[in-house]
Symmetry: C2
Subunit: 308 residues, 2 copies
């Protein structure tokens, strides 16, 4: 029996890492947001896929919260002396993924094939699927105009006020081979929605035709892990974004956002659950240590099993 | 009055560096071989142009003889773990040139424009022109089959026996803007052929339509600096290649190869000049130190002036 996780980058990677400590890797499928992907300096960058690769292969920079441990920055320093764009921090080792990915894509390999090869080379045993092999680009309408995701997220550090979020190319995209199959499989025990940003990391996934319908048709329970802890987001722009979109920063807002898609909601013990009309389970959902990640993953699985 | 130098990479860069110590930079034009250029991992690599950039901006790795001083190798080490091709040593800082060049070429900028910008950013004041903005690819017919230049030079370390050398695309290539103009200009005092490999570094230049004719039509004397010192090549595969092509490793063979293109030949004092039927000047042409480079550059200019 397998577990499927819909995930963005950092927070989701922690949950998936927790799962890998308690389940055999071949029982885990991560379906990963690629709405943050973009072409930078001609290179195809897939931040969420790479964060999962780094986290699951033990290469992630835990202190920094993104990128690689032991990274060097000679490329970026040299690029700066040539007048190249330096707002997006491309580490020297990180570049290897981008250069190889870009070359292989130009030869006609799919993002899914390339991701599977990278995972294989780094000993990552889970099935890592991009949500789609087609380009889907999250962009934001803000008080500073329309911004591509990385321009909003990295270049502008999430400062602009967001009015609306779109997923360009999503309507034409096909889910990557295996994505809907994994969700619909009779062997799938649980479908988890990681504690990633619902609007920026999970919505792009749901915007790819077929994925939301598959989730609704799945026999396995769909359980979200809250991205809100103690009335705030653990990390990133989630809370600011929710306020800008006019919703309260609470698990109730997240539950309302996912609506009838969810069969259950793993909330944090710090937050009130009175408003929630779906099955919930409350625990400490902060995942600072590896033990925390294992504990949250275990709680999510046990809770989901109770809903079957 | 200006000086024009036809040059390959390492040896030629030393001569050009010598020239920059005795002439104002705006009186020097280097016309640079791009037959070694190739696309590697999707990136456009221009080894001779980059060697000149590194040498003239003080960034060259003098001990290693190629690449950058203070280079790091995180990209290549990471690439290796992903199963990427690692036979061509791409340093982290070196990558900045290749990534930026490739991105700008894909946007339609010419190699000449990009090279001029790189030189400008690094304070290289001479005019650096690629021989052509069009792709010309040196390849070698060898006892190991037909090999692209870098495959022969780097991957196979010049081990295969060379039978014939071709410059694919040369016939269709146009010389870069300014190349023939610099050669033909009435302001040009001297045209030097650097002590680069005649077969692999200078012949590609001569294969681009118009360049050889311009040299023959130029009013300035054309003077070659010998790549042969004491009956051997200073560096690289020149001597091995000459033997394989059936010619003696001597200045006479180089003079015969260039033929009537030359008005004079700066030979090394270690080598016999009796066989040479063109004007020669002999001196110590080894360029270990910066003082050596200045001395050889001065000798070449003085000798050329004597031929006007």
């Amino acid at each position: 029996m397998s577990v499927v996780v819909l995930t963005g980058g950092v927070g989701g990677a922690k949950l998936v890492l927790g799962l890998t400590q308690i389940l055999p890797a071949d029982q885990i499928t991560a379906i990963v947001n690629t709405g943050d992907d973009f072409r930078h300096l001609g290179l195809w960058v897939s931040p969420d896929l790479d964060t999962l690769l780094y986290t699951l292969s033990g290469k992630a920079n835990a202190v920094q919260g993104w990128g690689r441990e032991g990274e060097t920055w000679t490329f970026l320093e040299t690029l700066r002396t040539l007048g190249g764009e330096d707002w997006f921090a491309l580490g020297d080792g990180d570049l290897a993924l981008h250069v190889l990915r870009t070359m292989r894509m130009s030869r006609g390999d799919t993002l899914a094939q390339i991701t599977a090869d990278f995972a294989h080379h780094w000993g990552v045993g889970i099935t890592m699927l991009p949500m789609s092999n087609d380009a889907v680009a999250t962009s934001l309408e803000t008080d500073a105009g329309r911004l591509a995701f990385q321009s909003y997220f990295v270049e502008r550090r999430c400062a602009p006020v967001v009015e609306r979020i779109t997923f360009d190319g999503a309507k034409q995209a096909r889910s990557a081979p295996g994505v809907c199959e994994a969700i619909l499989s009779a062997d799938t025990r649980t479908i988890l929605i990681a504690p990633s940003n619902p609007y920026l990391s999970i919505d792009p996934l749901l915007a790819v035709p077929g994925i939301e319908a598959a989730l609704r048709a799945a026999t396995a329970p769909v359980v979200a892990v809250t991205p809100i802890v103690g009335g705030d987001a653990v990390k990133g722009p989630t809370a600011k974004l929710m306020r800008e979109l006019g919703v309260a920063v609470s698990p109730a807002s997240v539950a309302a956002h996912y609506g009838t898609l969810l069969d259950g909601f793993l909330v944090d013990e710090r937050d009130p659950t009175a408003q929630l009309s779906l099955p919930t389970f409350a625990c400490d959902t902060l995942m600072h240590s590896l033990a925390d990640r294992v504990r949250v993953a275990e709680s999510a699985l046990r809770f989901a099993d109770s809903l079957r």
